[in-house]
């Protein structure tokens, strides 16, 4: 299996990667590649699209059709590709700033539209690439380069936002729980419609350091100790201060492309 995973990467020309020691993005990428492989998809079956950011560098390491677009613009670019190539398994990989700040509008509208795509959000709670400024997921009170004494703004819950916007599948995991994460990505890809998988990830170089959270191992231990599964949440207060992991939302709703086809067929039959 490992060789098969390595064969899917651009080992000869793109490595070593640019990620910092201890960064969580590699773990998320690992889970994603394994999910693709275990789903029986070849690299030719998939298309991976990203915006700009550390997370968005992932597609460049994968030997498949990939597109590194502009900051915030992964979703509209992916929508274009998917409409032209509906047979491709569309995967979007994005940072929290990319998906929820500059690209926030695209995110909610894509969820509402329900075109078949899988969005993997790597939430490291700050803008990693530009040096650790606060993002829409920086928890209130946490420090960032543009919030040296704590962030005043409230954070988005990306999953709630996805559910509220119409996503048909929403799940969360962390970079500590990589086999679990892999399983969620497999489910998300299988789902016909807009699927979101949020990966809580560590950025020990910036967010972690600015908030004295220790090294990558410490941050991963935090994820381990503070995560609880969806089924463990019996009442809302069980989830307080915890990272709730697992499938949070799974419904059926008409997929955009199919609905559109039906309308066209109907119009042409008249």
């Amino acid at each position: 299996m490992n060789q098969e995973i390595l064969d899917r990467l651009r080992m000869d020309d793109r490595f070593p990667h640019i990620l910092c020691p201890g960064c969580g993005i590699g773990s998320a990428m690992n889970a994603m590649i394994r999910a693709i492989a275990e789903s029986g998809l070849t690299n030719d079956d998939i298309c991976i699209i990203s915006g700009i950011g550390c997370s968005s560098r992932v597609p460049g390491y994968i030997d498949a059709d990939t597109f590194h677009t502009l900051h915030g613009r992964a979703i509209p670019s992916a929508t274009g590709v998917k409409l032209a190539h509906p047979d491709k398994e569309m995967i979007i990989i994005a940072g929290d700033g990319d998906l929820l700040a500059i690209g926030g509008n695209h995110f909610i509208h894509a969820a509402r539209r329900n075109l078949d795509m899988t969005v993997i959000l790597i939430n490291n709670h700050n803008y990693g690439m530009t040096g650790g400024q606060y993002s829409p997921t920086t928890p209130q009170g946490k420090r960032a380069k543009t919030a040296p004494y704590g962030c005043v703004e409230r954070a988005f819950d990306a999953c709630e936002m996805g559910i509220g916007s119409g996503a048909v599948f929403v799940a969360r995991s962390t970079t500590y729980h990589t086999p679990h994460l892999k399983g969620l990505i497999k489910q998300a890809m299988k789902k016909n419609g807009f699927a979101l998988v949020e990966v809580i990830s560590q950025c020990p170089t910036l967010y972690g350091r600015l908030n004295r959270m220790g090294d990558a191992v410490k941050m991963l231990e935090y994820f381990k100790e503070n995560s609880i599964t969806v089924s463990q949440v019996k009442e809302p207060k069980d989830a307080e201060g915890k990272i709730v992991i697992g499938v949070l939302h799974d419904i059926e709703a008409p997929e955009y492309y199919e609905s559109y086809r039906k309308v066209c067929e109907h119009a042409q039959r008249r």
Partner: protein, 387 residues
């Protein structure tokens, strides 16, 4: 007392924004602008600067926030680079048309694609026609001074236009230089309190962003055009006052060793200092070469340019931007048209170099001068490119 300190240029700009007692700062982070806005966030949090600070959700929002606060009568600052500036583009026209005295530092960076974080002037050249006043700094001291001057210029009731101060990404923004930081009492002789001309005020309701039918649109544009051309006299007045107070001289075009020069180089931004070294070395060899540094890009100092080139036979424009599919670079177009109908004997070479952070070295200018003295100009040339 003012003090001369070794300071990263980005931090010196933040210092200027603080000394100007700015009221509102909105920005979205982008390399290489980040150090300016991070330092400002710190200053606001620590109470060094009493202002509102917001990390907007994009540059489109950042500049829109600035428009709002400026309309409300607050002294407003933002900074960005490349993709961020492009994302502001829509609002750039509106800011000038609304006559809002916002000050923005553009840390110049190449436009994607290919994706590049390094410097050139392709970002700001996209804002050429928006109605913003534009200045180019070539070192840290100028970046600091111009940021302060920008508020004076923008807020002058004879101007009321937004101002961009351009500094080169990395080669200026991230460099530590000795910079004289003016102290507050010294500076108070120069700065004015911002008196907005038409602030939003519930007691005196106003509407902004009105619709112009074809019978009015051109008149509105002409007003902006007149304002920017008449701003030149105000800018020079502000510079003279600055000179008198602090002993640093600014002009629309800075001339260096031009008196008897047959060949002139023309630069914008940080490469001016590199070219200056080249001129010194060439002068030692007896080559009659001089240098013009374009400090004021908008309004374009047409007359000053003609005057500065009077005695020269050859002008070598060295620019870090290109109009793809056009006749070279944006400065090339503008300079050539300044001489059209005025002089036909000036040999104008339009050289495009240093795109996407490609190094521009002292020797490059020497080669350019040598070529220009031997060869007739081409329409334009891209130099240092591998085949």
């Amino acid at each position: 007392m003012s003090k001369r300190v070794g300071l990263e240029i980005s931090l010196a700009i933040a210092e200027a924004v603080k000394l100007a007692d700015t009221d509102m700062i909105a920005a979205y982070p982008i390399t290489p602008q980040t150090h300016i806005v991070e330092r400002l966030a710190e200053m606001v949090a620590e109470g060094e600067l009493k202002a509102a600070y917001i990390n907007a959700e994009s540059e489109h929002s950042a500049i829109s926030l600035c428009v709002g606060s400026s309309i409300a009568g607050a002294r407003t600052f933002t900074a960005t680079s490349a993709q961020g500036l492009a994302l502001m583009h829509e609002i750039m026209y509106i800011t000038a048309a609304l006559r809002l005295p916002i000050v923005m530092v553009v840390v110049n960076r190449a436009m994607s694609g290919p994706l590049s974080i390094w410097g050139d002037h392709s970002d700001v050249m996209g804002e050429r026609d928006t109605g913003w006043i534009q200045l180019f700094a070539q070192n840290g001291q100028e970046a600091f001074d111009m940021t302060l001057q920008a508020f004076r210029i923008a807020e002058d009731h004879r101007v009321l236009l937004p101002v961009i101060v351009n500094i080169d990404g990395f080669t200026l923004s991230h460099v530590i230089e000795p910079i004289e930081i003016l102290d507050q009492t010294e500076l108070n002789k120069f700065m004015r309190t911002f008196k907005p001309k038409y602030p939003l005020d519930p007691r005196r309701p106003l509407t902004f962003g009105a619709f112009a039918i074809p019978e009015y649109y051109m008149e509105a544009k002409k007003q902006v055009e007149q304002a920017i051309f008449s701003s030149k006299a105000v800018i020079e007045e502000v510079w003279q006052e600055f000179d008198k107070l602090y002993g640093r001289h600014y002009t629309p075009i800075e001339s260096y060793k031009t008196e008897d020069a047959k060949i002139l180089l023309l630069t914008l931004g940080g490469i001016g200092e590199t070219a200056q070294t080249a001129v010194d070395e060439m002068r030692e060899q007896g080559i009659k070469v001089g240098l013009l540094k374009l400090v004021m890009y908008r309004p374009f100092p047409i007359q000053e340019l003609r005057d500065a080139c009077k005695a020269a036979q050859t002008l070598v424009i060295c620019e870090r931007a290109m109009s793809i599919g056009g006749q070279g670079g944006p400065i090339g177009f503008e300079v050539r048209s300044a001489f059209y109908n005025h002089r036909t004997d000036l040999q104008i070479h339009d050289i495009i170099l240093g795109l996407g952070g490609r190094d521009v070295k002292v020797d490059d200018f020497k080669v350019l001068v040598k070529h220009a003295s031997e060869k007739k100009p081409k329409e334009y040339e891209l130099i240092g490119v591998r085949e």
